[in-house]
Symmetry: C2
Subunit: 401 residues, 2 copies
Amino acid sequence: MTTKKGILYLQSGGPTAVINSSLFGVIEEAKKHPEISVIAGARFGMDGVFKKDFVDLRKEDPAELKLLLQTPGAVLGSCRRKLPEDENDPVFATVLSTLHEKAIGTVLINGGNDSMDAVAKLASFFKRSHEDIRVIGIPKTIDNDLALTDHCPGYASAALHVMNLVSMVVVDSKAYTNGKVILVEIMGRNAGWLTASADLLPTDERPDLIYLPETAFDEERFLNRVQEIYAKKHCVVVVLSEGVNVPRQKDGMKDAFGHPVLEGISSYLGNQIMSRLNIGVHAMQLSLPQRADPAFVSKVDRKEAIECGRRAVRFALAGKTGQMVALKRITSRPYRVSYVLVPAAEIANQEKRVPTAWIVDDTKMSSAFRTYLAPLVSDIVPIRFEKGIFCITHLRLKKLL
Amino acid sequence: MTTKKGILYLQSGGPTAVINSSLFGVIEEAKKHPEISVIAGARFGMDGVFKKDFVDLRKEDPAELKLLLQTPGAVLGSCRRKLPEDENDPVFATVLSTLHEKAIGTVLINGGNDSMDAVAKLASFFKRSHEDIRVIGIPKTIDNDLALTDHCPGYASAALHVMNLVSMVVVDSKAYTNGKVILVEIMGRNAGWLTASADLLPTDERPDLIYLPETAFDEERFLNRVQEIYAKKHCVVVVLSEGVNVPRQKDGMKDAFGHPVLEGISSYLGNQIMSRLNIGVHAMQLSLPQRADPAFVSKVDRKEAIECGRRAVRFALAGKTGQMVALKRITSRPYRVSYVLVPAAEIANQEKRVPTAWIVDDTKMSSAFRTYLAPLVSDIVPIRFEKGIFCITHLRLKKLL
């Protein structure tokens, strides 16, 4: 049925360091199958579908495609858009007519929770409309919070960024006998997967304290812990998830004009330490580079991101739909995974958080967590630089005719 | 006179990605000269001199010394301590007696402005006391604000960190059609050298706006520029120096308890954009990794940092004192420099800022600036990783007997 039909690929949600590696996998795999007529990419995700803004991915230079493997961002453009709950909403019919017009028989959506919601809704609509259009999800998130998969492409590279940056901060902090409290705020929304990665650093590069959103945060206890360690070492490095829940923070901060202001958890807690403990603070957020650093891309992560793209194409050709490609761990030592399908509808609107049993206390994670993460971050991939700057791809992005 | 006398090396001020490369150069050069009896390092800079806390740098494993080249921080420890203005202060006599005790005939201080102040004061005191103890400065600062030298070891590597990180942010920001204003706050104290480096990025990786502390900052004009560019592109990336002078910021921000709070320029301006233009903002500070990232070390920078260390040893052996090793540019294309001596007293308490003639407007630097910086950041050095984390040295740091 899908013979002579095209593939449409979409990027969705926030970029990761390897989302473009999944795109690479999709293109490479699709080219192997002569029955695939069109390999299209939507510009800016679902927005591109509504605007019929598609590019012809067959028209790209192979050398530039190779550079997708080290290009951060989402090269086709992304968006955050939720499809309506009501399948009778005209939006679905519009999408269908556009896909017909472009002879698309497969839609691949590369994203996180919300994207899997779109996979489930589109697949269900096409089924109900008796249309043989397959919709497969390709996982992606640095937060590692997708259910039903062992881990997510994007997570391990972000973890290596976090680990290397925290190591820099710890090593740098040893220069002084009379240091500060350094607060390093790490992404991850409501899950502490990224923050927890700092636990795997070698002993003399580890932070002193690690706070995840999965456990209750007690501000008084936190201040006591900081004071205690500072008294001993004259320097404290704390890593903490952006999602750590500090009830008092809600009182908020105001600028000179009384407007509420931008404030991260590190800034809030930094101000508490300064005003209540009278200790100097350096508050920092690792910010956007966590999802965009090509210098610390994990070898396993890149390989799996490519492979998830490839498998998505093959699963669609095999007639699967409404599912997401997931990683199933077979063994950790040696590290082996298989690629399976899981129902997209069960992933949407769910968050997988760090099991509390894996959190020993505010200084360390369990050995189960270490066994889980270690094989994912065992190695980085060397990348190409030109004049000191990492090379990025320059795709043609020719309009699909 | 200095035959059979020892060398003492100190690290001072904030670390850079290559300060340990200068230490490497000092040790390698000193070992070549049989007349040098002792190669000592002070723990935590001048503090170590007062505490007689010295390590024997001859006792280190050559493989670990090699890893100094990619180890951030200041491995011997540093401090920020100004020597008294009065040469009759007993502090100077104390230092002298300690140096006698340890048979030290040469003191090398690796640091910035304040360190050159120490070089000048100690050299002057020793001369006045008719003591043949030579004091030479080895330059180091990411801020590039030392006078009398073409540039400073540490600057180019920090610039490559800034350039690569800004590129990541710009590439990442292209993922959305409806983006934010991203404010990237960059170190450099009162000088814009580091911020200006973003000007050298390839066209599609450049920020939209560049603000240095060397030109007057007009907040209203800034907000207009941001609004103008946002209306056109729906995304604006601004790089700005921490030293940009915003008078209204002095009004300050307060937490819920009325305490003044930590606030960088990016956070202050971010709040202005949100409240006055009603545009979403992502404010980030590149923070400590600017001076501690081994992944973007400049080849030229590392080489020059090593060479400054070597030259300091040779200049001291040749009887020079009270001077700093400086880089003198001969030509930019091809890039050639010579190593000269300049009076430490003339560097202390001076700041070299970016010439305003090199600042074209708030979007670009002049070609003179580009010619200046380009050869310094032309290439990065690949480094060793183990289990995904950059390797650091593990020195023995054996007490000097």
